[in-house]
Amino acid sequence: MVILAEPVGGRFGDFGGRFVPETLVPACEDLEAAFRSAWSDSDFRDELNRLLADYAGRPSPLTECRRLSEELGLRVLLKREDLNHTGSHKINNVLGQALLAVRMGKTRLVAETGAGQHGVATATAAALLGLECVVYMGEVDMARQSLNVFRMQLLGAEVRPAASGSRTLKDAINEAMRDWVATVESSHYCLGSVMGPHPYPWMVRELHRVIGAEAREQCRELLGRDPDVVAACVGGGSNAIGIFSGFADGEAALVGVEPAGGAAIGRGVPGVVHGSKSFLMQDEHGQVLEAESISAGLDYPGIGPEHSHLAAIGRARYESVADDEVVAAFELLSRTEGIIPALEPAHALAWVSRAREELAGQAVLVNLSGRGDKDVAQMMGRLSER
C-alpha cells in the first residue's frame, strides 16, 4: 500500500509538505479541498474519463517490441503515452487540473514547462475549456524546444521567458510561482509534475494513475502476470509515479531513471525548494545547483517527494544515465521499432539497454512517456556533428 495511500498531512514519510509563501497557503488548502471533493464525485470522474477517451485517445496501447527485444535479449514492452493527444503523458494531469480549475471558478491557467510538453498540454486544455493561459519557460529551453513554443502560441497561450538563474525548468517554476502569488484569486497554477506543495504531488499522481491501471491490465492480458521490471524516466517524476502506481503493491521491480546531470536521488541530499521537502541537488550552503541534461524535460535538480520516499523505503530504485547513452537509445528505438521516442523516455530505454545482462530474459515494461517530434531538430544538429 506504500504508494497508493493519500499522504498523511501532505507528507510521504519524511518528504513533501507545503513550504510556500503565506499568500499561497489558503489557495493550496482550497485546492486540496476542491480536488478531494471532485475526485469522489462521479460526475467529475465521468467527465474527465470522457475527455481522456474521446479527446486524448485513451487507453494508450501496450506495444511489445519484437526486434528491440531480440537485440537486447529481454522482453521489452512499451506503454505508449507518446500516442496521446499532444504527444505525451502530460495531458492526463492537465485535463484533470483544467476541469478542476473551471469547477473552482478560475479563469486563467499558469504553468511552467521544460521541454514544452506540459506547456503544450496546458495550452491545449485552456483552448478546449476557454481559459486564459500563460506558460513560463526558461530561455535556454525556448531555444532548444522552439517548435513547442510556437505550438503553445498557436493554441492561444502566452509564453513568457524565464531569464534568471539557469534559465531552465527550475527558473520557470520560480516565475510561475511568483505569477501565482500575484494572481491567486483568478488563476490556477497547473503544475506539471508530482512536485510542489501539497496537494500537488498527491493530486498529480492520482491524475496519472490511469497509466498504471491500464498497463497492469494490459500486461496481465499479454503476459498473464505483472512484468518483472517497470522502468520510467524521472524529471519531477509524474510519468514514473503514474506507471509505478499500477504495480507498487505487486512484485515488479520499480526503476526510475534520472539524467546524470539532474540526478536528485543519485547526487542530492534532502532539501526544500518549490514547496516540498525532497532530495535535491544543492551545494554545501543550500544553494540549489543547476541541472545539466540533454533533455529539457528532465533538466531539473529536484524530484517529487514521493520518489524520495520510495527510495528511502527501498520500494523503488533510481539509476542515472549519461547524455550519450540517451542518444544511442533514441536511435536504437527509432531503427528497431519505427518509434521515435522523446529524449526523456529515451533515458529509461538507455538504462534498460545498459542493464541488459542483469535483465536477460525478463519482461521489462517501459513507460514511453512522449514522442520525439519535438526533439528531432535538436538531434539533427547533434547527430550531424559526427
Binding site: P21, T23, P26, K170
Partner: protein
Amino acid sequence: MSVEPGPLEAALRARRSQGGKALVPYLTGGLGDWAAALAAAADAGADAVEVGIPFSDPVMDGPVIQQANDRALAEGITPLGVLDDLGRLDAGVPLAVMTYYNIAFRFGLERFASVLAERGVAAAILPDLPLEEAGPWTEAADAAGVETVLLAAPTASDERLGRICARTRGFVYGVGLLGVTGVRDELASSAVVMADRLKQLTDVPVLVGVGVGTPEQAEQVCRVADGAVVGSAVVCRILEGGGPAAVGELVGRFRRALS
C-alpha cells in the same frame, strides 16, 4: 502575551509607545558595501535592519531583489559569511535576517539558530516557511532566543491571521499586496486593509512590507500600521551604484516621512 519580548519586538514597541512609526529597511547581505550601508541605514533612523541571506531560488522576490541575490552569490557570498560579518558589526539597532528555509535547513536548524544568536542577530524571517511547517524551526529559534517573524497575507481568513499573530515574535509582517517584492507606482489598497485587519487582532507591532517603495507610501500605510519594511527601494539604490551615503540619504527620507 506571556512571552517576554525579544530585542526586536522591544525596540518596535518602544518606538510605538513614543508615538512614532517604525522603519525597517532591508538590504541584501553580500551585495556591494553592504555592512557600511547597514550602518548608514541605522544612523539615518532605522529602528531595525533586515538583512537578506542570498538564496538561489527566491520565489517571494521580484526582479530587484533577485538581481541582488544573483550578484551577491556570483561574488561568492555564503550564509556563514553574511552571519560572520554581522557578528563583527555594531549597528546599534536590532538585526533580522531574511532568507529562505533551505538555507536554514541545510545549515541544520539548531545550528542556524545558535549561530544567529551568537552573531547577535535578533530575529529571522523565512518567507517560504508558513505557520504549519514552522514547528521544527520555531522550536530551535525559541530555544536559542531568536525571534521568528511570521508573514501574514491578504488571502488569509481572520481566524488564520489570529493564529499567525499568536505565534509571531518581533512583529507581524503584513504583506501589503498580492505579489512578490518590488516597488509599485502606488500603494495597493490592500496594504492599509492588511494593517487594519492585523491591528484589530493583535497588540504585537504590525509592520507592512512588500510594495512599500516611497516615503509617501510608507507614510500612507503607517496611518494604520505601526511601521513599514522597505526592501526593493533600498536595494535598487545599491544596484544602481549607490554607496552607504546614498542608502543613508534614502532611509533618512523615509524616516522624515514617518515622523
